[in-house]
Structures are given as structure tokens and as C-alpha cells.
């Protein structure tokens, strides 16, 4: 309760930042005939953690995947409404999807390191984008990212070993390092702790709190406590609708909607 107070306390300051990173209006998503999201309007602010909660199958992942157009690779998936990143419509023809994904990084629910060396995993993004001028610079970026992801100490002696040989929690942090190595503006995390033990989870939550200084973060989570601990703003999804959104503190202490209240008190979901 005290921890929550502290984080949400900071949230109110950060919420003052004026222009949101993402401004989404009336987003609807269809998988073929089936509508998965209906009129979702939500803002994602810089230097804040926005958590998305809701029962399974309510469309959290779907919404998250809209933000870096990961839905493009799903056959028959259609997105309507407007999603603006810095005022630019990311679904407009002028938006390059590769560039978008460089600006909006993603950490997936299941750790998915490349079956390559630890170094290669992190270096891949900077390399394809040509971010590093030479080898030393690339090494510096890899070091930095691993440091920020809190993994450096554990792997610095075995950078050339396969990333798939790490433990689940280490793999997830490796994926975070990989995402931040390209210096995105926004990081999307889909249940990053769902497969982790409490210690690894705590480590990643700490990390998210640190990353907030540099990035806007959106995190999908099934853990109410986690949402309360790490996020400043929360959105509650239910059956493809964004039921309620607001400061995390307000959502958890004083929800306006009955469904939100039921969900956070564990009456359904």
C-alpha cells in the first residue's frame, strides 16, 4: 500500500506532461468478421507506465499490437479508427512500418530471444537500423542496453553463448534489452512477467520503473498488484471495450464503473 502510494504519487507529476506519445481514438479491430475491439480511445503518455488490465480474451493484446502494427501480419485482421504517434497517423500510407517498429518496441508475453548469441540478440536491432557507426559503438550500445535491462552482470562473461540458453527470467530481460537497444520512444510489454517467479518479477518491475525515465511504457498484466505497483495510469478492458481509464490510484481506490470494481475486487474475470 505504501509502495503504491509512492509510485502513484509520482504519477500525478508525470501526467502533467502535455502531448501524449500515443493518441488513439475510436479504434476498432476485426479478425475477419469478428470484432475484437470497439471504439477504444486511450492516450499513452511519455515517462509514464500505462497498464492495461481486464479478463482474458478482452482484447488487451489486440490493442497493444495495434500500436506497432503487429496486427499487420495476421491474415484478415483489420484496424479502423485513428492511432496517432506524435500526431502522425501510424496507419497512414506515409508511415513506414519498419520505422514505426523502430520507434515502438515490443516485449512479448513469452520470451522469444533469437537462437543466436546474447550479443547478437541485442546487437541485431541497432545493426539493421545502422545506429552504430562502428564495432566499438555497437558494443557500447549492447553493454548499455544489457545494463539497463539489469542483465549485464549475469551475462558479461558469456556474451557469445546462445540467448536461448538463459533462464526464463533472464531471457525476458534479454528481450527487454533487445527492445531498448534501438532507442524506441515507446515500449509495449505483453504480460512480461507471466512466466516468471516473484524474484524475477520484482526485478523486472524495478526495471520498468527505471525505464520510465526514458520511455513511454505500456504493460498488459493480469496481476492487479503489479498494475498498482508499476503503473501511473490504468485502462480496464472488458469484452473488447475500454470500460474505464484513469490514474492508477483512482482506478484501484475509487473505480467509477461497476465492472471495474467487480474485476479489481476479484468478483469476476
Amino acid at each position: 500500500m505504501i509502495a503504491m502510494q509512492a509510485t502513484t504519487g509520482r504519477a500525478t507529476d508525470a501526467a502533467a506532461s502535455p502531448v501524449p506519445a500515443f493518441m488513439t481514438r475510436d479504434v476498432c479491430v476485426f479478425y475477419g468478421q469478428k470484432q475484437a475491439l470497439t471504439n477504444v480511445s486511450l492516450d499513452i503518455h511519455r515517462n509514464q507506465v500505462t497498464s492495461l488490465i481486464g479478463p482474458s480474451g478482452c482484447g488487451k493484446s489486440t490493442y497493444l499490437r495495434c500500436l506497432n502494427r503487429m496486427n499487420d501480419i495476421i491474415d484478415g485482421c483489420r484496424v479502423t479508427g485513428s492511432i496517432l504517434l506524435d500526431g502522425q497517423d501510424i496507419y497512414a500510407g506515409s508511415m513506414d512500418v519498419v520505422h514505426l517498429r523502430a520507434r515502438v518496441g515490443m516485449v512479448f508475453q513469452k520470451p522469444n530471444p533469437f537462437p543466436k548469441s546474447i550479443f547478437e540478440n541485442v546487437a541485431y536491432g541497432p545493426r539493421i537500423h545502422g545506429i552504430a557507426k562502428d564495432k566499438t559503438e555497437l558494443e557500447a550500445i549492447v553493454h548499455n542496453s544489457l545494463e539497463k535491462a539489469g542483465l549485464l552482470a549475469e551475462v558479461k562473461d558469456r556474451m557469445d553463448q546462445p540467448g536461448t540458453g538463459l533462464s526464463g527470467g533472464q531471457q525476458q530481460r534479454l528481450c527487454i534489452a533487445r527492445a531498448i537497444a534501438v532507442q524506441p520512444e515507446v515500449i509495449l510489454m505483453d504480460e512480461p512477467c507471466s512466466a516468471l517467479d516473484p524474484i524475477a518479477t520484482a526485478r523486472i518491475e524495478e526495471l520498468i520503473d527505471e525505464l520510465r525515465e526514458h520511455f513511454a511504457i505500456v504493460i498488459v498484466t493480469h496481476s492487479m498488484q503489479q498494475a498498482a505497483r508499476v503503473s501511473q495510469r490504468t485502462g480496464f478492458f472488458h469484452l473488447g471495450i475500454l470500460v474505464e481509464t484513469g490514474d492508477t490510484e483512482q482506478i484501484f481506490t475509487n473505480p467509477r464503473d461497476k465492472r471495474t470494481q467487480d474485476y479489481i475486487t476479484g468478483r469476476f474475470g
Partner: protein, 447 residues
């Protein structure tokens, strides 16, 4: 039994007793079924073992007969000749003109050498029979020696030359000495002469190098598989060069890039159909299109490779698509997620992971192609070709066609050589499969 009677009364009964009864009943049922389950499992294992045993035995018999027939082909019976290279026969003018040297009558020298061994054989017919015991290859041996070193002219040389295939078969014990003379290919007189040669230590058995260095020939003792091996090499190389990139390209496009709609479904069905088309149809197609329309030289490894490419393409495409499908989508998402383009994600991550599967499919396809005969018969690769092909546009034959030709020949010695060729072909296939395994191991280690 009494328990099941209790069980029947179960719904009516109440309390702890009935729960206990129910448990008892379940455990009874389980242990009763257990025996049957184990018996079933044992039977299943037995069937599996029998099936495996059957396959192994059949394969063993096959290999055994091939090896038993083919092994003698690796040796060749030779006769030691002492040939005098009379200058007046070879080079009457004495100017060592290669033209003269090459067209000299070396057969005469061979006959002279034989006459020396058998001064008692004088009648025309007998001498003809005697000379027939030596392979026409003897003259080539002498000629090439003289051409290589003209200073030999005038000297007496000791050489070993192959015996004719019938005598060779007799020497290997393949011809029944007791049979009626009219029913065997070696006459009584020849047997007598052969025996005299053996007694004088003039007959030796040598490793049959000709089999591995020569092209085809009308005389079995001069025939070799090298021409077919080289033909197969060209054909396979070209097939690989054409089919692998095409198939991988098609598989990657269909699996990673093509929209999933009715058209791609149609294409998919057609590719699967293509894999099941009888191979001779590809031969007919090759004859009509590649030879008839595009004018690719008949009988050449090039046209063979084009036909085999058509044939292996669907096999490799199907295997490659399966390999691509087995790459977890999370890898693609990971790559796209850090901003890789579709092509980068495919080239950097998906393709390397799918490569072992693709290579396996390719090698299976190539092994299939290496053993393919029917379509090549249609495009003239069945022609009798003596020369070793020096390029993909020369006339050539391939190993399975050579095997087909030899097994069809009346001479026993050719049948023997066909089996030897099968052994060599099996050797190649084994090497290819080992290569596939080794390659896969290497790839897997890298990840």
C-alpha cells in the same frame, strides 16, 4: 465379483462406506484392465519388431544378392603377353609420325605374341578361336604405350592385357565346365588353352581399374562406369543449381509473403499434384519442350537436369515449406518487433532456422533424382555413349540408365557390372545422406 455387486447398489447407498466401495471398485477395474493393457502393449511392440525385422531381412537379402553378383566385377582376369614391337610393322618409314603410329596394326603384334605361346595351333579356325580369347582392348594398351614412348619400338615388352569377358567368366567359375559345349560361350578348345596358360603362370587376376576409368563399351571387359558417373555428376550439379534456388524461392514466397487466398490454394494443390506425377511424364515434357522447342542438345546432362529439376522441384518446395512452417512465429514477431523488414526477418532469422529441414528435403530430392531412370530414357540419355562427357552439353548417360542398359545385356559380364554399378550408386547415396546428416548437425550446432 462381489464388489461389482456392491457397486451396483452404490447410488442407493450413502456415507463413507459407499465412497470406499466406489474406490475399491475403481481399483478393481483398473487392475483388471491393466493385464489386458499390458498384453496389448506387448503385442503392439511385437508387431513393431516384426515389421522392422521384415524390412531389415528384405533389405539384407537385396544387398546380399547385389553384392554377391557385383563383387566379381571388381576383378578382371588378365593374360601376361610378351609382345615384340617390330619396327617394320609399326613404323616402316621410321619417322615416328604419330599418324602412322596410331594407325599401325597392333592386333597383329598381339596375335604374334599368342602364336609364340601356342605354336601348335595352326588351323585358321582354331587360331580365330584362340585370338577371340583376348580382349580387343589389348591392341589399345599396346598402342597407347607406343604413342606415349616411341622409343619402345623394336623392343620386347611384357604386358598384362584383359581376357575376353567369356574367358573371364570362366576363370571366375561362372561357366559350367560340364555343360554341353553348344550351350556355353567357351569352347572345349579354349578351356584347354586357358588351362595351359594357367599352368604356365600366365594368367593373373587384377583389380578392375577399367571399371572405374572407362566409359561404356561393347565389350564388357572394356566397359566402365566413369562415363556414367561423370554424366551423373553434371546432371546432378545442374539439377541442384537450378532446383534449390528455385524451390527455396518459391517456398519462401508462398510461405512468408504470398497472401493466403484462393490462388495460393490452387498453386499449393498443383505443387502437391506435381510431386505425384509419374516421372516419365516429365521426360515427355522435356522431349517436347526443352529439346523440341528450345533446342537443348539431346542426351545432354543439361536437358537431363532440366527434366530432373522439374521433377525434384515440388519435393524440395514441399519439404522447404514444411521447414518454414516449423519455425516458431515468435521468431518472426521478435524480428519484426525490433523493426526488421519482412525480408530481413526472413533472411536473417527464419531461413537459417529452416535451412536444416530444407537441406534434408533437397538431399532427399537429389537422391531421388540420382536414381531416376524413366524420364531420362525419353530424352535420349539412354544412347550408347563411349566417350566421357566433358561438359553439360555433351552426350552423356547417367548411372541408373547405365545400370538399366547393362542389366538388359545378354552377356553375363554386363550383369555383373550392373550390380557393381548399383553398389557404387548405393555408395554415392550413402555419402549423400551422411552429408545431409553432417550438414544438419553443423547447422544445428550454430544455433
Amino acid at each position: 465379483m462381489s464388489n461389482s455387486a456392491n457397486g451396483a447398489a452404490l447410488p442407493g447407498a450413502g456415507g463413507l462406506g459407499s465412497i470406499f466401495d466406489a474406490r475399491q471398485q475403481v481399483s478393481e477395474a483398473v487392475s483388471a484392465g491393466l493385464k489386458r493393457r499390458y498384453a496389448r502393449e506387448r503385442r503392439f511392440r511385437l508387431y513393431g519388431m516384426l515389421a522392422t525385422l521384415f524390412a531389415v531381412v528384405v533389405l539384407g537379402i537385396l544387398l546380399f544378392t547385389i553384392i554377391r553378383t557385383g563383387l566379381p566385377a571388381f576383378t578382371q582376369t588378365m593374360i601376361k603377353l610378351s609382345v615384340t614391337l617390330y619396327p617394320q610393322e609399326i613404323d616402316p618409314k621410321g619417322d615416328r609420325d604419330p599418324q602412322t603410329l596410331s594407325s599401325a596394326d597392333y592386333q597383329r603384334l598381339v596375335r604374334d605374341a599368342l602364336d609364340d605361346y601356342f605354336p601348335d595351333v595352326t588351323s585358321r579356325n582354331d587360331r580365330r578361336e584362340l585370338f577371340a580369347m583376348i580382349s580387343p582392348g589389348a591392341t589399345y594398351v599396346i598402342r597407347s604405350m607406343v604413342m606415349a614412348d616411341p622409343s619402345l619400338i623394336g623392343k620386347r615388352i611384357e604386358i598384362e592385357v584383359p581376357l575376353k569377358d567369356d574367358i573371364d567368366q570362366f576363370a571366375k567359375g561362372k561357366i559350367d565346365r560340364e555343360a554341353d559345349q553348344a550351350n556355353r560361350r567357351v569352347s572345349d578348345k579354349q578351356i584347354g588353352w586357358y588351362q595351359r596358360l594357367v599352368d604356365r603362370d600366365l594368367i593373373v587376376s587384377r583389380f578392375n581399374t577399367t571399371l572405374f576409368t572407362a566409359g561404356d563399351s561393347r565389350s564388357p571387359e572394356l566397359a566402365g562406369i566413369w562415363g556414367a558417373v561423370v554424366g551423373s555428376f553434371w546432371t546432378m550439379t545442374l539439377t541442384l543449381l537450378m532446383s534449390f534456388p528455385l524451390a527455396v524461392g518459391a517456398a519462401v514466397y508462398l510461405e512468408e509473403f504470398a497472401p493466403k487466398n484462393r490462388w495460393t490454394d490452387v498453386i499449393e494443390v498443383n505443387i502437391n499434384n506435381l510431386a505425384a506425377v509419374p516421372s516419365i511424364v516429365f521426360g515427355l515434357l522435356g522431349l517436347a519442350v526443352f529439346i523440341g522447342f528450345f533446342g537443348v542438345p539431346r542426351s545432354s546432362p543439361m536437358v537431363g537436369a532440366l527434366v530432373l529439376t522439374l521433377m525434384t522441384l515440388p519435393i524440395i518446395i514441399i519439404a522447404s515449406r514444411a521447414a518454414l512452417k516449423s519455425v516458431p512465429p515468435s521468431i518472426r514477431e521478435a524480428a519484426l518487433g525490433v523493426g526488421a523488414s519482412k525480408m530481413q526477418a526472413t533472411l536473417h532469422h527464419v531461413l537459417p532456422l529452416a535451412m536444416p529441414g530444407m537441406l534434408t528435403g533437397t538431399i532427399l530430392g537429389m537422391a531421388h533424382a540420382l536414381g531416376e531412370t524413366a524420364p531420362l530414357l525419353m530424352i535420349g540419355m539412354v544412347a550408347f555413349i563411349v566417350d566421357i562427357p566433358s561438359g553439360p552439353l555433351n552426350s552423356a548417360t547417367v548411372m541408373p540408365v547405365q545400370i538399366y542398359l547393362w542389366s538388359d545385356a545378354p552377356e553375363r559380364a554386363f550383369i555383373e557390372r550392373a550390380s557393381a554399378a548399383i553398389m557404387v550408386l548405393l555408395g554415392f547415396l550413402t555419402v549423400m545422406n551422411l552429408l545431409a546428416v553432417a550438414l544438419r548437425k553443423r547447422f544445428e550446432k550454430r544455433w
